[in-house]
């Protein structure tokens, strides 16, 4: 009876502690030379560049859908002209960062978990250690750095595409020029909207990279474990992304950036 209730909590706390230690290790070893630039660039290409189509498509759909959904509510008040400013604020502050992070958690987090996990179960990581290569720096640090750097860029790219989708959405129900749309967008947006969004997406990227790497790096039980690690990487990353988002919103509010 005691195990049924305490085991999940104990496992959760144990995992949280291990991830924290893993993150600490990244911070301690990740920024020390020698630097793996080649692997960093390769991972940036895989994580950033290869995610562009998926992120762009998702962001475009989100921009379009949010605009179309918001239109009737604003139409009731005769405030359709507010659509660009309201949609842009929603997209830039919340929707694009979170959706992009979740997409990347699904695509990138799972691939990191599976890739490192399969290397772990096939003892390639042990082989790297034997050969004198630091597997943590080569495999983990490069991936975590790549996700941390690439996710904000993907979010900015997603913002642009989502706003363009919003522009098309606005023009589906009325006529608004591109110039007027972007003028209204930039009239509404402030640094307080953009910087928290970019900063939290840095943390989202870090979360995706560190959790994917951790789950892969701690994979056990062969190929079955690889699948579990990939799945767990996605689930835990998505969960932590929402927690980080909540914390970011609270901090932004405390700093009067809302």
């Amino acid at each position: 009876m005691e195990n049924v209730f305490t085991r999940p909590i104990r496992n959760f706390l144990n995992e949280a502690g291990e991830i924290s230690m893993f993150s600490w290790r990244f911070l301690k070893e990740g920024f020390k030379p020698p630097y793996e630039y080649g692997e960093l660039l390769r991972q940036s290409f895989e994580i950033g560049y290869r995610s562009i189509p998926l992120v762009a498509f998702t962001a475009f759909i989100m921009g379009l859908v949010i605009t179309i959904q918001s239109h009737p509510a604003l139409e009731v008040f005769g405030a359709e002209s507010w659509l660009p400013s309201i949609v842009s604020e929603s997209l830039v502050r919340e929707i694009t960062p979170v959706i992009t992070a979740l997409i990347c958690a699904g695509k990138v987090g799972s691939s990191i978990g599976a890739e490192i996990g399969s290397m772990k179960v096939t003892e390639q990581i042990d082989a790297m250690e034997v050969s004198g290569t630091n597997p943590f720096k080569f495999l983990v640090a490069t991936r975590v750095l790549s996700t941390t750097l690439m996710l904000p860029l993907l979010v900015i790219f997603g913002d642009v595409v989502a706003l363009y989708g919003g522009y098309l959405g606005v023009n589906m129900k009325g006529v608004t020029s591109m110039h007027l749309f972007w003028t209204q967008v930039f009239n509404k947006l402030t640094f307080g909207d953009v910087f928290p969004s970019v900063i939290k997406s840095v943390f989202f990227g870090f979360v995706i990279g560190i959790i994917g790497s951790y789950k892969g790096y701690t994979t056990t039980n062969g190929t079955e474990g690889v699948g579990r690690s990939a799945n767990a990487a996605v689930v835990i990353s998505s969960f932590v992304i929402f927690i980080v988002d909540l914390l970011a919103a609270q901090i932004a509010d405390l700093l009067h950036l809302t």
């Binding site: 390769r42 560049y49 562009i52 008040f77 405030a79 860029l153 900015i156 972007w182 640094f191």
Partner: protein, 328 residues
Amino acid sequence: MEATTGKHIKTGVFVIVTLLFFIVGLYNIGGKRRVFESTVKLSAIFKNVNGLLAGNNVRFGGIDIGTVSRIEIISDTAIRAEFSIDHKSANYITSTSIASIGTDGLMGNKIVNIAPGNREGTSLKEGGVIKTLPLVELDNAMRTVNKTNDNLEVISEDARIVMNRISSKNSLWSVLMDTSVAGNVKQALTSISLTANNTVVLTKNLNKIVGGINNGEGSIGLLLRDTSFSGNLQHAAIDIRTTGKQLAHISGDLSEMSDKLVRGNGSIKTLIEDTNLVHKVDQAIIEFNSGAANFDTSMVALKHNFLLRGYFRRQEKENKSSSDKSNK
């Protein structure tokens, strides 16, 4: 190696393009907030800022020219709002300009509206204080709107009653809806027009007459304008009066005479009252005519008498000669 380089280039392009988007976005946002422009700090003191926040827009003539940079309480009845105003736009804010706090739309953010002052004002410099206008609070505005609504309700009710009366039978509306009225009105208007024309002609004639009268033409003109006429009229009246008196006197005499005729025993009474006298007179005239015929016969006989024939011939000659003289 080439494949790796290609990947690096693609990654680099992605990073650069995305960063360019980010920088352009930040520049636009900063441009709207005048982060990259030189600004002038001006301020205004309000009794109530009604939720105005740092970062709210400042407008001059409806154009965003700056933002609220700071709000601070300086006393229990005064709150100082400091504005960062675009350097170029600040030149138009003078010592007579007036700042007021409003709302961007019905539900929008608070904004500071600066109304232009008159030409007598001087441009405010760094640290200048703009005059303020008391805040128009939404509650007060809504109260006014509520009162207006009440009045509108009363007015609309009255209007409804009036409209019902107008649209009811035997009302003005029924007259207006009667199609024959238009024809009648048209005809009446034609008649009025003709009457007006006649009136014009009549007026002209009257003017002519009045002009003639004023000039003393005609009997009435003479009557009104001839100053000697009244004197003559007076004399005539006196003469009429005198004549009247005389007539009265004569009528008195006639009355007396008629009395005498009726009551007296004179020959005239006999002539008037004696009916046989007429026959006698007739008989006398007949006899006189008969006598005259006999006398003519006697005279003819005398003309043929040898004793008197010469006398008559001489007389004929004299008469003839006197008539010839007169003809010549």
